[in-house]
């Protein structure tokens, strides 16, 4: 019977679901980290000359 089982599709595959979820999470994480760094520099917490 296993021969008749259709191959896994992207919508069903945990691999692709994980890829979609990872892309969404990284979107938000990158936004948060990027804006946090901007705020830290503009408020002087990360001073000029600290970043090589």
């Amino acid at each position: 019977m296993s021969d008749l089982t259709p191959p896994p599709t992207a919508a069903e595959s945990p691999t692709v679901t994980r890829a979609q979820r990872a892309a969404l999470n990284e979107d938000w994480l990158a936004t948060a980290v990027g804006l946090l760094l901007v705020a830290l520099v503009l408020t002087g917490v990360i001073p000029t000359g600290l970043v090589p």
């Binding site: 992207a10 595959s13 691999t15 979609q20 990158a30 990027g34 804006l35 901007v38 520099v41």
Partner: protein, 374 residues
């Protein structure tokens, strides 16, 4: 954009176990390679001064060092049996998106507003025409409908992210997604060097070159690398154009979902895709990019020019670091084995579509961004 090895690797029983020590080792490797790239970028031009290599050394920018070191690192970790184990640390998507949010802080919001019109028009025309051409070429060479959809989305919009969105929309096989992702990266690598060179040979203005690079190279990371090689103004326009294309992923994914549900698979019970799916597919870092631009523009208007320049300079240094880590990751992630498995027809379709993308993109960029100034 580039997906991680874990995202795209086949789910096999042999996948090595990844634990915190491997993650730490992976982060260490990425940071060391990035630091070496930064060091080479700083020291080589000065060391080559007065020699016959002076001009060449001055022309080699940090993306080239970073990608080359990533590729060398790729070979080393592959033969050391570490590539799969450290894959969780190789986060190209995260590095590039954070770098782009930081880039937003140095772009005046008025430039984004000014470029938005031609960028949206170019994106709509380019995505539609290149998608249809790729779809047609795929049909001509007898590709599976789902692979046609994945390749068409990848070439016309923004590489791996678009392929992931399309894979979910058309319920493609995971092998097809892994294959489309490999094609995107392999075609993007030479484009990073070729397009800035061609833009120079053709004498394109920074705005036209940026619009051409942003509209053509599939992955956002590669667009940023090519833009950085071409110059700051080119990088800014290329990023705005690419971010605009990224933002249209949702619309294409929703259209593909509807097309495959009602036309290809003829599923009478399928639900009509809605606004929720559009929002789910929208790349949220674009909001961060615009927010950073708004903050940077407001800040520059409230403090002295010298203070603003110094602080934006620090943000630019941080941006360069994140972009270097992204380019190192591109080199570390490259895999050519998937290409051998799928045969020549998808490569021919992707190659043909890329050429069409180049020609149409150059025409549109030359018309829509003619006379554009920051």
């Amino acid at each position: 954009m580039v997906a991680t090895e874990e995202d795209l690797a086949p789910a096999t029983a042999e996948r090595p176990v990844r634990t915190w020590p491997w993650l730490v080792l992976g982060v260490f490797i990425v940071l060391v390679l990035g630091s070496v790239a930064r060091f080479l970028e700083d020291t080589i031009p000065a060391a080559a001064e007065g020699t016959s290599l002076e001009k060449f050394a001055a022309a080699v920018e940090y993306p080239i060092y970073a990608i080359a070191l990533g590729l060398i690192g790729n070979v080393i970790v592959y033969y050391a049996g570490l590539r799969e184990r450290i894959a969780d640390a190789v986060r190209t998507e995260f590095f590039i998106k954070t770098g782009l949010v930081l880039l937003g802080a140095s772009i005046n919001l008025s430039l984004i507003v000014k470029a938005a019109g031609p960028a949206i028009l170019q994106a709509v025309l380019l995505i539609s025409s290149v998608f249809l051409i790729t779809w047609y070429l795929g049909g001509l060479l007898g590709l599976d409908e789902k692979l046609r959809a994945l390749l068409s989305a990848a070439v016309s919009i923004c590489g791996v992210s678009a392929a992931i969105a399309a894979a979910g929309a058309v319920r493609a096989k995971r092998e097809q997604l892994a294959y489309a992702a490999s094609l995107v990266i392999i075609f993007a690598l030479p484009s990073i060097f070729l397009l800035p060179w061609l833009a120079d040979v053709l004498g394109l203005s920074p705005a036209v070159a940026g619009a051409w690079i942003g509209g053509n190279i599939d992955t956002t990371a590669a667009v940023t690398a090519a833009g950085a090689i071409a110059g700051e103004q080119t990088l800014q326009i290329a990023t705005i154009v690419k971010a605009t294309q990224n933002a249209l992923i949702g619309i294409v994914a929703v259209a593909l979902t509807a097309y495959f549900a009602f036309k290809v698979e003829k599923d009478a019970d399928a639900q009509r895709p809605g606004l929720r799916q559009l929002w789910d597919r929208f790349p949220k870092f674009v909001l961060g990019f615009i927010a950073a631009s708004a903050i940077g523009t407001w800040y520059a208007g409230t403090v002295s020019a010298a203070e603003a320049k110094a602080h934006i300079g620090v943000i630019n240094d941080l941006r360069t670091w994140f972009l270097i880590l992204a380019f190192v990751s591109i080199g570390l992630q490259l895999r050519v084995s998937a290409l051998r498995e799928a045969g020549w027809r998808p490569v021919a379709v992707f190659g043909g579509a890329t050429l069409a993308n180049l020609a149409i993109g150059l025409g549109l960029a030359s018309i829509l961004f003619a006379g554009f100034t920051a």
